[in-house]
């Protein structure tokens, strides 16, 4: 089994434990995310874990790549803490405001700069946007095959993998030659606990930072400029109903409820 050059695309997202702090700015109609810590999107951590396991089995190198403001390096340090070999952050105003296609363009320019890559892994959906689009779009732009919703990866030989892709009530096992891109779901593995030595790796290794110019990418294909879609408005979801409260002893509640449901015509009687 030859050594593999594995790249894992990771997205920094607001920590879901603090999402109750999200607020809507009524004026700009955008989401305010201040004060919410940033973490690696959970399924991307499954991708890192899978990459580390493949490296442990076959040898090779695991590089993580991400896109975001300069302080994203703090989040990427936790990828070093897990045990990845190298870390790259694409950081440039030109990358900002990107939808999935422009994000894929940006990531691809960074992946190309890394040189020959055998396997691209990433989470099937991100925690916040959850579109599931970046994986297949990165693959399209790299012109390599890709498989989504992957919960199992097996190597047939040095250059061929079989990935099990989950679909409704079942799965498809799909074979593809390397290089290819695989978008993984959480059922694929359990992410290891960050090891104690991770504190040393995270503080001693630095993340490379690359600008759009260094990635030699066409500025019209990235950032908000390169985004076919945009978000004119974000709104709170209203789900109020009449909320008639029923309290008291169970037998009384039961009788009252059944009467009301019968008159509403939703149960027989």
């Amino acid at each position: 089994m030859r050594e593999l050059n594995i790249v894992v695309c990771i997205k920094p997202v607001p920590d879901s434990r603090y999402w109750d702090r999200l607020s809507l700015d009524p004026r700009t109609k955008t989401l305010r995310r201040e004060g919410i810590p940033t973490v690696i999107s959970p399924l991307d951590k499954n991708a890192i874990e899978e990459a580390l396991r493949i490296r442990e089995a076959h040898g090779g190198k695991v590089t993580v790549i991400s896109m975001g403001p300069p302080n994203t390096t703090e989040v990427l340090a936790m990828a070093y803490a897990l045990g990845v070999d190298d870390s790259v952050l694409l950081t440039d105003r030109a990358f900002a405001g990107a939808d999935t296609l422009a994000t894929a363009c940006g990531l691809v320019s960074g992946i190309r700069k890394l040189g020959k890559v055998d396997l691209v892994l990433l989470g099937d959906q991100s925690l916040d946007g959850s579109t599931g689009q970046v994986g297949p779009q990165v693959a399209e732009l790299l012109d390599i095959p890709s498989i989504t919703h992957v919960d199992k990866i097996d190597f047939v030989d040095d250059d061929t993998i079989r990935a099990r892709s989950r679909i409704e009530l079942g799965y498809m096992v799909i074979e593809a030659r390397l290089p290819c891109a695989l978008a993984v779901v959480k059922e694929i593995n359990q992410v290891r606990l960050t090891p104690v030595d991770g504190a040393l790796w995270a503080t001693e290794k630095t993340t490379k930072q690359w600008t759009a110019t260094e990635c030699a990418v066409d500025a019209n294909t990235i950032g908000s400029k390169g985004s076919p879609t945009y978000v004119p408005e974000v709104a709170n979801i209203q789900m109020q109903r009449k909320a008639e409260v029923l309290k008291g002893d169970p037998a009384t509640i039961a009788r009252q409820l059944i009467e009301k449901l019968k008159s509403a015509g939703v149960i027989e009687g």
Binding site: S130, Q133, S146, L169, V173, I237, K247, L257, I258, I267
Partner: protein, 334 residues
């Protein structure tokens, strides 16, 4: 691209095992509404093998045109085969809007087509409309459903959106309505198909899919255990209802993720009656039930989010209330 050259609303209707999926038909209903607003044609696109006869029936659901592409390469979904063919059709016929059912396969296919033709795609749309300029506006929940974003794709065509099953109601079949069938000449180079499906596994559904039930009884993490889950199932049995669950209840192993999870990343249901217990009412679950006719919530906490989103909010312990309900219902049956 010249925006004005793009006309028409397209719906990709997925087939699996030679059968057209319900979600495609639901989207024809949504597509018809959009096409009427735009004063343009609605077309269905079907890829498969031996699927022409079924594809013809799509006229009855509102399609003006049905494009049928048949080939052994399309019998089972293949990312390359489907995306190349669909992108080719898009380039040839230039639709203004392309809707794809948000199944696992649809979510795999749509982004590839969008990248190939360099256009925008909104995922998990729970609503679509066109504005006065004829531009598509898709409503997409974000942050687990905490907020609703509107997405527009002003300068690229086609404007694409994936829409999950159950968001739109299945349109009634109109007898006698015929579509013009266009048989596509499939010129796909097999060498461009880079992946091979070596195995397909599908579980047989032992019970009726819950989205077809008129009544759904659902349980969440607050149910507290496998023993307690029997209370959920007993109430469902007495009512002849389907049993739904939130994600945490599925993670605990009390219910099956694929079949029973209701929520933004699971099923959307619109029963006549929904009864939820041990459910706090996180938005990503509520989004899955918001079109239910009557919502009943049972929770010890009067301030649980689900309570204000319910028609009837029962403040109490489900372990006491539900057995009382069951007893009362059984009395009525006698």
């Amino acid at each position: 691209m010249e925006i004005k050259d793009y006309k028409g609303v397209w719906v990709f209707v997925e087939q699996r095992d030679g059968k057209l999926l319900d979600v495609g038909i639901e989207l024809l209903g949504a597509g018809r509404t959009l096409a009427d607003k735009l004063g343009q044609e609605l077309s269905a696109v079907v890829l498969g093998q031996g699927i022409a006869a079924q594809a013809k029936t799509l006229g009855g659901y509102g399609a003006d045109v049905v494009y049928v592409a048949e080939s052994p390469l399309f019998k089972v979904y293949n990312a390359d085969a489907y995306s190349i063919q669909l992108a080719d059709l898009v380039r040839q016929h230039k639709p203004a809007i392309l809707l794809v059912g948000g199944t696992a396969i649809g979510m795999d296919l749509a982004p590839r087509v969008a990248a190939k033709v360099n256009t925008g795609l909104s995922a998990h749309s729970v609503g679509v409309d066109v504005d006065k300029d004829g531009c598509l506006l898709a409503k997409v929940p974000a942050f687990g459903g905490a907020v609703m974003a509107s997405i527009a794709c002003p300068r690229h065509r086609p404007q694409m959106a994936t829409i999950p099953a159950g968001i739109f109601q299945r349109p009634a079949a109109k007898a006698g309505k015929q579509a013009r069938v266009e048989t596509v000449k499939v010129e796909l180079d097999p060498k461009k198909v880079r992946t091979k499906t070596v195995e397909v596994f599908r579980e047989e559904l032992k019970s009726r899919p819950i989205e077809q039930s008129d009544i759904i009884v659902a349980g969440g993490y607050g149910v507290g255990g496998k023993e307690n889950w029997k209370i959920v199932e007993e109430l469902a049995a007495v009512l002849g209802a389907g049993v739904g669950a939130t994600r945490p209840a599925c993670d605990e192993g009390w219910a099956k993720l694929d079949e029973q999870m209701i929520g933004q990343s699971g099923k959307t249901v619109r029963p006549k009656l929904y009864i939820g217990m041990g459910i706090s009412g996180m938005v990503h679950h509520l989004i899955g039930i918001k079109d239910s006719k009557v919502i009943v919530a049972i929770n010890r906490d009067e301030k649980a989010p689900i309570m204000s989103s319910a028609d009837y909010a029962i403040v109490g312990d489900f372990k006491e209330v539900v057995p009382a309900l069951i007893a009362e219902l059984k009395k009525g049956k006698k």
